[in-house]
Symmetry: C2
Subunit: 303 residues, 2 copies
Amino acid sequence: MVGSLIYIFLTQMVHVIGSAPGEPIHPEVRKFCSSGPKWNITLTAEEARLPIIYVVTPTYRRPEMVAELTRLGQTLTMVKRIHWLVAEDSPACSPVIASLLHRLGLPFTHLATPMPEVYRRERYVPRGVSNRRAALQWVKEEGHDHGVLFFLDDDNAIDVRLFEEMRHTKTVSMWPVGLIGDYTVSSPVVRDGKVVSFYDGWPAGRKFQVDMAGFAVGVGYIKKQKRPTMPYIAGYEEDGFLKSLNLTLKDIEVRANGCTEVLVWHTRTAKNPTRAIRLPPDKHTHDNIRGLVENMKHMGMIK
Amino acid sequence: MVGSLIYIFLTQMVHVIGSAPGEPIHPEVRKFCSSGPKWNITLTAEEARLPIIYVVTPTYRRPEMVAELTRLGQTLTMVKRIHWLVAEDSPACSPVIASLLHRLGLPFTHLATPMPEVYRRERYVPRGVSNRRAALQWVKEEGHDHGVLFFLDDDNAIDVRLFEEMRHTKTVSMWPVGLIGDYTVSSPVVRDGKVVSFYDGWPAGRKFQVDMAGFAVGVGYIKKQKRPTMPYIAGYEEDGFLKSLNLTLKDIEVRANGCTEVLVWHTRTAKNPTRAIRLPPDKHTHDNIRGLVENMKHMGMIK
């Protein structure tokens, strides 16, 4: 705890010398790779009036990547009027994700947004920040004013009913997230229909004690802010982002039956080691295994 | 390795004294709870001709249970002509799963199939066996002859295209499963369109070195067998089951582009501790947190 306070202090000092806390002191590279259809052909008039939900998912190459994105992407195809922004922590967009996105058939934007090298050396790596910052920029420039921004990690689990809860967010809407820390949940505390504080096992000096999957933001509201941003400070991404929106507790829109229902979970998938598989030259020359191993390399499952 | 061989030898000896290896020496309790609609109302004539896929998912109460079943169940609603058998390792069916099943709207059967206590004390607990045995019995009695049986754990990830690969299985169809053991995959080795052996990091004396999610079986084929069964021997469930079907390698139907594509992954979700949350009597009496904690108890997320 003391260690992490010292860490935060030092990190913030470094940034204060450069600019605002958590603002990058090294350049960020953002590569736009491709975008899918903006409209479903079968969009009804009623659907066309629905605000678009921009779902932002940071990801990175590892054995589980394709499994996670397949599972999550399939879920998103069940949701009306969604736009999926997949941002890879990589200097280039991977063909396997590109083909997955095209196959799913939902509107998407595919980005390559590598973390500046300096952050990889920090004690607590602010993973996913460069990705979300890039997506935030995209949404500010391309998003519909009546749309909604939602951050959803590739290994989280979501009940599709949550999308309708967040659909009409004007400022920031919030709800509980399951499987977080010491309380097994992180939730706003709601009294008389208003958020008054947070029920979260890791306060850590945060004004907004929420998980990344615990809120959505109106795109028009983001655009009205002077300097919406997400800091490169591990553990403080949500808090920093919501503070940059000049949000106050009384602006928060309460969802999920007064924040009593859990419709999204911070599940984490067990990691598998990334192996290099080299078949002996005299083995598997006349069967399927070489083709399978090639496919697994392509998917990032092995080196 | 030697330890597990000794374990297997001893386990098998115990069973040999009683009956066949891995056959239960203690009674199994099977409780049928409820069944959902057998037919979608909007079933087209073409759909009605499709073989039903009976997906068997064993589950048990833990903090991640509802997240996993929500995620998997939503995926299954994307698949035509499916019947989901959810079998709980519990003496009674939980209301939270019942309402989830009713809400999803897919044809289902809900069972309570607790593991006989004697197996909980074994060194390697044969988890999910009582559940799958019960589902197997249900499918033998109620399943359509041209239907297909498929075992899919609640934390696995599946590309929905795999369901069409397995749809027309007559005997047993097979394909690779990703994220398994030392090779990051388990797959049949296919030569000239036929399975000749297996590529799997844990041979362990098994004839069929496959994962539970790596095969599907024709219901008619199961019904033709004298004594289809799954043994209570951890690590040998698949092998024992396929042996009980009198399967030979040349009977196996090869899928997933000659077993070169990965369309299902043995993902595992990180476990969260099951906590007891007792709110102080003077706290949270006028807000949402008591209601939220009650809901979490109902979902099995906390004690």
